[in-house]
C-alpha cells in the first residue's frame, strides 16, 4: 500500500527551481532512501511532504487521501525526525517524549510520576539507557538522537516515518541500535523514509533508492539493482554547464598561514599551509569540524594544542581582536546572526572595523565615513539606494557583498569564507566566486573557503582539504575527481589513506 505519495510537485524560490515536477511514492513496509548532494532539493521535498512548505504545483497524498494546505491535521500522519537536535534541553526525558500531551494517554492534570511510568517502555524499546526524570541537556547526544526518533513515533497513528540524516552524531554502535529499531518499524508495516549522505548505511538498510539532483528526481530503483559507483555518478551528474572555474591562476606566493597539529573540541590534529594568492577549499559533511577549526584559528573558539603561524610569526590564539589587527579575518556562516549588525546602516556596518582611519580628535568624520561606504558600495556592486539603509533590509547576496567589502578595507592577508553562498541565488553566487578569485589573484591574499557544496569547492579551490569527523581525511588538487572526493567525505578509508600526509604531498606538487 502506498503510505505517502507526491505527484508532480514543484517548488520555486526566487531565482531557483528547488523542486521540479517530482513524483515519488513511499510504500508501507519498505525503507526508501533518498540521496543527493547538498542543494539537490531533499530538504525542500521533506518540507513539502511534512506540510511546512506549500508546493507551487502538484499534490500530496497521505494514506490515499489528498492533503490540504500546510499545517493540515493530516500531516500529523507523517512522523518526522529532523537533522538537528530539536528537544527541550531543560525538560525531562519523559516530558520531551510526550509533549504536547495530545495523545490520549494523558487527560486532565499531568502527573510527573504518571508520565515517567509511561516513558519506561518507550525508552526500553528504543534502547535509550537514561532515566525518564533526567534532563535532556544532561544525557548524551546519541541518546538525544534516539529520543527524537522515539518522540516522533510515540503516537502510533502515523503512516510514514521520515528520518533526516539521523546518524550524524551517532557512533557505529548507536547507529546499529537505531537501524534495528528502524527495521522493527518497517516490520510494523510503516513506510520509512531515510535520508543520508553515508552510502554504506543506505546500502545496508534500504529497500529502494531515489536519487535527486538540482531539484529533479534522477532515478528511482530497488537498492539491489544499484551499486555505490553508479549512485555517486547519478548524484553528482556530469553536467557540462556551469563549468567555469574560479580558482586563482597565478603562482602561489609567500606562506601566509601555517597550521600544525591543531586540536580543539571538534577537530583533531589538523595541519595545513596557506599561501598568498591561492584559494584553499575545506569540504566535508555538516558537523565535520570545518567551522570549528577556522573559528579556533581565528581566536573565537578554544585550541587545546598545536600551533598557528601567520606570515612566519607565531600567532596569538584566543583573541579575535588580535587576529583582525594582524589581517586574519573570518566571515561567518550564519550571516544574519554573526556577520551583520542588523539594525545599523550599511555605512556603519562598513566602517566599524576601520573607525580609527576616519576619526580625528573631533570624532568620526561623517564625510569620510560616507565616502568609505560609497566606495564599498561601488566596488562590490551592492544594490541599494543609499548607504543609510539598515543592512537587515538588503538581500542575502548584497549583505554578503557588504561584508566582503568591509573585510577588504581592513587590508587582510588571510580571508576565511565560511559558506559564503549559503542561501544565495545562482547568479549572485557566480559574482561572489569571481570576487574571491580577483582578491586572490590581485590583492596577494590567501583565501580559505569552507563549503558544503562539492561543486562550489571544486570550482573555486586551488587545493582542497576534506575533513571527516574532525580529522583530515584527504587532500586534493584543483578539479580533483568527484568520486574520489565523495569517498573521502563519507569516510571511506582506502581513499583517505592514499591521500594522507598532505604536507609531503604538497611539496611534491610544488
Amino acid at each position: 500500500m502506498t503510505a505517502l505519495e507526491a505527484r508532480n510537485i514543484t517548488k520555486l524560490f526566487p531565482g531557483v527551481v528547488a523542486l521540479d515536477s517530482v513524483d515519488i511514492a513511499f510504500e508501507s513496509g519498505r525503507i526508501h532512501c533518498i540521496v543527493g548532494e547538498n542543494g539537490a532539493g531533499k530538504s525542500t521535498l521533506i518540507k513539502c511532504l511534512t506540510g511546512v512548505y506549500q508546493p507551487d504545483d502538484g499534490e500530496i497524498f497521505i494514506g490515499g487521501r489528498k492533503c490540504g494546505p500546510p499545517g493540515s491535521a493530516i500531516f500529523k500522519k507523517v512522523a518526522y525526525v529532523p537533522q538537528e537536535i530539536d528537544l527541550f534541553p531543560n525538560m525531562s526525558v519523559a516530558e520531551n517524549l510526550f509533549l504536547p500531551y495530545t495523545q490520549s494517554y494523558f487527560k486532565g492534570l499531568i502527573s510527573q510520576r504518571k508520565i515517567q511510568d509511561k516513558a519506561w517502555p518507550f525508552l526500553e524499546k528504543f534502547g535509550i539507557k537514561v532515566a525518564p526524570d533526567q534532563l535532556v541537556k544532561d544525557i548524551p547526544i546519541s541518546s538525544q538522537q534516539l529520543l527524537q526518533v522515539a518522540r516522533a513515533t510515540v503516537n502510533e497513528d502515523y503512516e510514514a516515518l521520515m528520518l533526516d540524516e539521523p546518524t550524524t552524531s551517532l557512533t557505529t554502535d548507536d547507529s546499529a541500535v537505531l537501524f534495528n529499531i528502524i527495521k522493527r518499524i518497517k516490520a510494523d508495516d510503516k513506510a520509512v523514509i531515510f535520508i543520508s549522505h553515508k552510502l554504506e548505511e543506505v546500502f545496508g538498510l534500504g529497500d529502494e533508492i531515489t536519487i535527486m539532483r538540482n531539484g529533479e528526481m534522477v532515478s528511482h530503483s530497488r537498492i539491489d539493482q544499484m551499486d555505490s559507483a553508479s549512485v555517486i555518478t547519478q548524484m553528482t551528474g556530469r553536467t557540462i554547464d556551469q563549468n567555469e572555474v574560479f580558482f586563482a591562476r597565478r603562482a602561489p606566493g609567500e606562506k601566509l598561514l601555517e597550521v600544525e597539529h591543531l586540536t580543539g573540541a571538534r577537530f583533531t590534529d589538523v595541519s595545513f599551509t596557506l599561501r598568498a594568492g591561492e584559494i584553499l577549499g575545506f569540504y566535508g559533511l555538516v558537523g565535520a569540524g570545518r567551522t570549528e577549526l577556522m573559528q579556533a584559528i581565528f581566536g573565537h573558539l578554544a585550541v587545546y594544542s598545536g600551533t598557528v603561524k601567520l606570515r612566519g610569526i607565531p600567532h596569538k590564539l584566543g583573541d579575535t581582536s588580535h587576529s583582525v589587527s594582524q589581517g586574519l579575518i573570518y566571515l561567518p556562516e550564519e550571516r544574519k546572526k554573526y556577520g551583520i549588525l542588523p539594525q545599523l546602516s550599511i555605512r556603519e556596518n562598513v566602517s566599524i572595523s576601520v573607525l580609527d582611519r576616519i576619526s580625528s580628535i573631533f570624532g568620526i568624520s561623517p564625510a569620510k565615513e560616507n565616502a568609505l561606504a560609497d566606495e564599498v558600495i561601488a566596488a562590490y556592486d551592492v544594490k541599494t539606494p543609499d548607504s543609510q539603509k539598515a543592512i537587515q533590509f538588503l538581500s542575502g547576496g548584497n549583505q554578503q557583498k557588504v561584508i566582503i567589502g568591509r573585510a577588504m578595507i581592513c587590508r587582510p592577508k588571510v580571508l576565511v569564507f565560511d559558506e559564503p553562498t549559503k542561501g544565495i541565488d545562482v547568479g549572485t553566487k557566480t559574482e561572489i566566486y569571481r570576487m574571491m578569485r580577483k582578491l586572490a589573484e590581485e590583492k596577494d591574499i590567501g583565501i580559505i573557503l569552507i563549503s558544503s557544496e562539492l561543486e562550489e569547492v571544486r570550482r573555486c579551490s586551488n587545493r582542497l582539504l576534506v575533513l571527516y569527523d574532525g580529522r583530515q581525511a584527504a587532500e586534493f588538487e584543483a578539479q580533483a575527481d568527484k568520486d574520489e572526493i565523495l569517498r573521502a567525505v563519507i569516510g571511506v578509508k582506502d581513499s583517505a589513506r592514499k591521500n594522507m600526509n598532505s604536507g609531503d604531498r604538497w611539496r611534491k606538487i610544488q
Partner: protein, 324 residues
Amino acid sequence: MTAIGAVLLIMVILASVSSPYFIDEYNLKALIRDLAFIGMIGIGQALLLLIGELDLSVGKIASLCGVIAGMLMVTAGLNPYLSLALALALGVALGSINGLIITKLRLNSMVVTIGMAGVYGGVTLVLTKGKAVTNIPDVIHFLGKGNLGPLPIPFVFTLLVLTAVLFLTKKTKTGRYIYAIGNSKEAARILGIKVDRIRILNYAIMGLIASLAGILYVARLGSSQSSIGENWPMNSIAASVIGGVALTGGIGNPAGALIGAAIISVIQNMIVLLGVNVYWQSAVSGFVVVAAISFGSISAILRERKQRKIKIDVEVKKEKMEAE
C-alpha cells in the same frame, strides 16, 4: 526621538493649560531640579541598555558615594572638593566591580546588580548606622541648590553628562562599538571588538554618573542619607525606554532618556498640581508611564495588522480571479 519630543511638548502644553501653577518659575525650577537626577541616571542607564544590559544598583551606588563624600568632609575633615573627587572615583570603582563580575563570571546584569545593590546598600547602613551625616560644608551647597542663570546647577551637570555621552556614542569608535555589541555580541567579537572591555567601561561610566548624582543630591539636601536614590533604578530605566532606547540593545539615543525623564517628571508634577488623591498618585503615574512606553509598540502592532489585511485582500482577489 522627534515623536517622543512631541509627546513631551503636548504634555507641557496640557499641564500649563490645566494648571496655572505649572509655568510658575518656582514650580518649573523645582521640576527641572528633580528631573536633573533621573535624567542623569537615565542617560547612564541608556548606555547600558544600548548593550542590552542594565544596572539596578545605581541608587545604592549614589547613596554610598554621597555618604562617603559626607563622611570624608565632615568626620575626616578633608577638603570638600577632594572629598567629592574621591567619591567620584569610588563610583567608578563600584561600577567597574559590577562590570567585572558580570563579564568575567558571565552572569546576567540584572541579577548581579540586584545583589550588588544589597551589598552597597548594606555597606552604607554599616557606615552610617542609619543616621544622616549632617553639617555638610556650606561651600558645596551651591552644587545642589544654586542656579547658573536660569538653570539649576544639577541640571547644568545633566546637560554636561548628556553632551559627553552623546559625543561618546555618536562620534567615537567606542560609541560605535557600543551599538555593535547591542546588535550582536557574537558578531562584535567576530569583528575583533574587545567586547568585555567596552561592557566594563559602560558600567564604570554608569558608576561615575550615579556617584555624581548622589553627591549633587547630598549638596542639595545639605546632609548625606542612606535613603538617597531609592526610586532611581526603575525611574531611570523607564526614562530610557520612554525615550526610545530598546531594552534588547542596539537601538536608541541617550538624549531620549532625558526627554523620558522630563515626561516622567511632568507627569508627577501634574498629579500633584491637579490635586490627585495622595493614595492614587503612584497608580496614576505608573499607568501613564506604561502608556508612554506602549506608544511605539502599539503603532507597530497597528501597522502590522494593516499590512496583513492588505495581503489577505490581495490573496482573496487572486483566488477569485483564478476561480473565474
